[in-house]
């Protein structure tokens, strides 16, 4: 026994020693690789704060875009982003949740269901700019909605629906089947089971997934360029058919100008955008934690 318990380090051969050192080097390498991502994030944020913070004030939030950098602000872009966020939610959320309920609770096992499921997974991987092309051809041109808020919101809704559907499916799947069986046992219909039992339990998960998908929509710009959102606008949208701009596009517009002043405006705009995204994510995290605490 005492022989077997002898510390392994004693009498180490050069081969073992090399293996041990290689192992330690590899552990460091992995740690280093992980810190690259974290460091990149830190550098990015510090760079943005240095460039953008001096420009960030109340006037920046309440002024329209301008040829003069010292007077320019994000009012139109912020309003446009809020419009797009609201409309996209209204369109994408009910449709996606309904689709998820169908796929999890109603769909028979068969090729139709499988085809729909595969299709949704593939749609989630289509580059956003391709959705922009669809929006341009379908909403702007074929349906005659023009370069409007509603065209933009419909396009982004199509873009994020696969993401919400898959998140909602996961949340619904996580509801224990004993709950369903108990409700069926009491004579509930399928819809009663879904609406009274499954949905309330799955809702926090569904909402978390929806908010994360929406924050993707808020940061999107390529598809909105395709449907004709502009980077320079001196009014806020009043209705569905108005022209609009959004924060990422305003930022793009400023970034593409060579003057340093506009680059600083872009950095300040990015800070506003990140603040918006951060608050959305905070809501999502709070909701997830509350849901986990309930279980």
């Amino acid at each position: 026994m005492s022989e077997a318990n002898r510390p392994l380090g004693t009498g180490e051969s050069t081969f073992d020693r090399r293996r041990r050192l290689m192992g330690r080097a590899f552990a460091w390498l992995c740690g280093l690789a992980t810190s690259v991502g974290v460091a990149a994030l830190a550098v990015l944020l510090v760079d943005l704060l240095i460039d953008g913070l001096p420009r960030l004030n109340y006037a920046f939030l309440t002024s329209f875009a301008s040829r003069f950098p010292e007077r320019a602000g994000v009012k139109a872009a912020l309003a446009g982003s809020v419009w797009i966020l609201g409309l996209t939610t209204l369109i994408a959320f009910p449709l996606s949740v309904a689709a998820a309920i169908y796929l999890e609770e109603y769909a028979p096992r068969g090729w139709v269901t499988k085809a729909i499921q595969t299709n949704i997974a593939n749609l989630a991987g289509v580059p956003s700019i391709v959705y922009g092309i669809l929006g341009l051809a379908l909403f702007v041109r074929a349906l005659g909605l023009g370069r409007s808020v509603i065209s933009g919101a419909l396009t982004l809704a199509l873009l994020i629906m696969p993401v919400i559907i898959m998140a909602a499916q996961e949340a619904i799947r996580a509801v224990p089947s004993t709950i369903r069986e108990a409700a069926y046992g009491l004579g509930a219909t399928r819809w009663q089971v879904v609406s009274y039992q499954v949905l309330p339990m799955a809702l926090p998960g569904i909402l978390t997934g929806t908010i994360l998908a929406l924050s993707r929509a808020v940061g999107e710009s390529a598809p909105l360029i395709m449907v004709g959102a502009v980077g320079f606008l001196a009014f806020t949208p009043k209705g569905l058919s108005d022209q609009f701009t959004v924060l990422p596009l305003q930022i793009y517009n400023w970034v593409s100008r060579p003057q340093d002043e506009f680059r600083e405006l872009a950095a300040a705009g990015i800070l506003v955008l990140l603040a918006l995204l951060l608050s959305m994510n905070a809501v999502a995290i709070v909701m997830r934690n509350r849901a986990q605490a309930q279980r």
């Binding site: 041990r20 192992g23 590899f26 552990a27 390498l29 992995c30 740690g31 690789a33 992980t34 690259v36 991502g37 990149a40 994030l41 990015l44 760079d47 943005l48 009910p94 449709l95 309904a98 689709a99 309920i101 169908y102 109603y106 769909a107 729909i116 949704i120 593939n122 749609l123 991987g125 289509v126 580059p127 700019i129 391709v130 922009g132 092309i133 669809l134 341009l136 051809a137 559907i165 219909t189 399928r190 819809w191 994360l212 924050s215 993707r216 808020v218 940061g219 710009s221 390529a222 360029i225 395709m226 990422p248 930022i251 793009y252 593409s256 680059r263 950095a267 990015i270 955008l273 990140l274």
Partner: protein
Amino acid sequence: MPHVSLTAKGSRNFKEGAIGAVLFACAAASTLVTIGVVLVLVRETFAFFSEVSVIDFLTDTRWEPMFQEQHFGVLPLLVGSVMVAVGAGIVALPIGLLTAIFLSEYAGPRLRKTLKPLLEILAGIPTVVYGYFALTFVTPLLRVFFPETEIFNAAAASLVVGIMIIPTVSSLSEDALRAVPDSLREGAYGLGATKLEVSTRVVVPAALSGVIASFILAISRAIGETMAVTIAAGNLPNITVNPLESIQTMTAYIVQASLGDTPQGTTAYRTLFAVAMTLFLITLAMNVLSQWVLARFREEYQ
């Protein structure tokens, strides 16, 4: 009494059936989106190819749709996209995989819980922000080391796209690595293997299908990435292998063409759809390939 309950049951059945039908319609709508995308792309692409031959499109080495003497060779754009994707892959694949190994094999639960969300923030940052970062931070930095770097260049764009797709590689790979059962690790340790040997010769090979699927998905994302490359890599269709030069990717061309006032119905306008079709087919093929790899080479452990 039985009569009453029968009609109640009838209306109840009707309501249930109607709800089921509405829900099915919502799920099926997603299929309409795909059909819409394909129809739009195919129709305009066919119109394009009735004016420009497929062979010119695929073999001409100049992309000059706006010039007096038009050239419609997609190769410069394709080379641009591939260059950014390769550059991004060189950054993201090793870093992403090593990060995944660190999170799955080395980090304790608490460290992992802090690091994972931090890394996922990288994937949530809007792509214009990466464009800004590439143009105002990475490019000036590159110019310190390589003064010949152009203001718009492929290297800066590749680098930020690489950073952007690290989380795609690391979180999908980590899921795959963690799905490898501990009994395999314990078996290898029992035979005297070190942690390095367990990680690289047992765990990674066992999870290879997931790791490769994450690689393919990340590269497909890099090819579809739009704003960062539009801002940082430039708008000069250019067949080159020098990453310090200005290039144009397929996605950047689509943005550039739709920002300009290209009259509808012209060949120049239809290039939008032909390029988008090319992009769509490439990314679709890669996504399908990644799913196939996952399904075909998955090692099942029970």
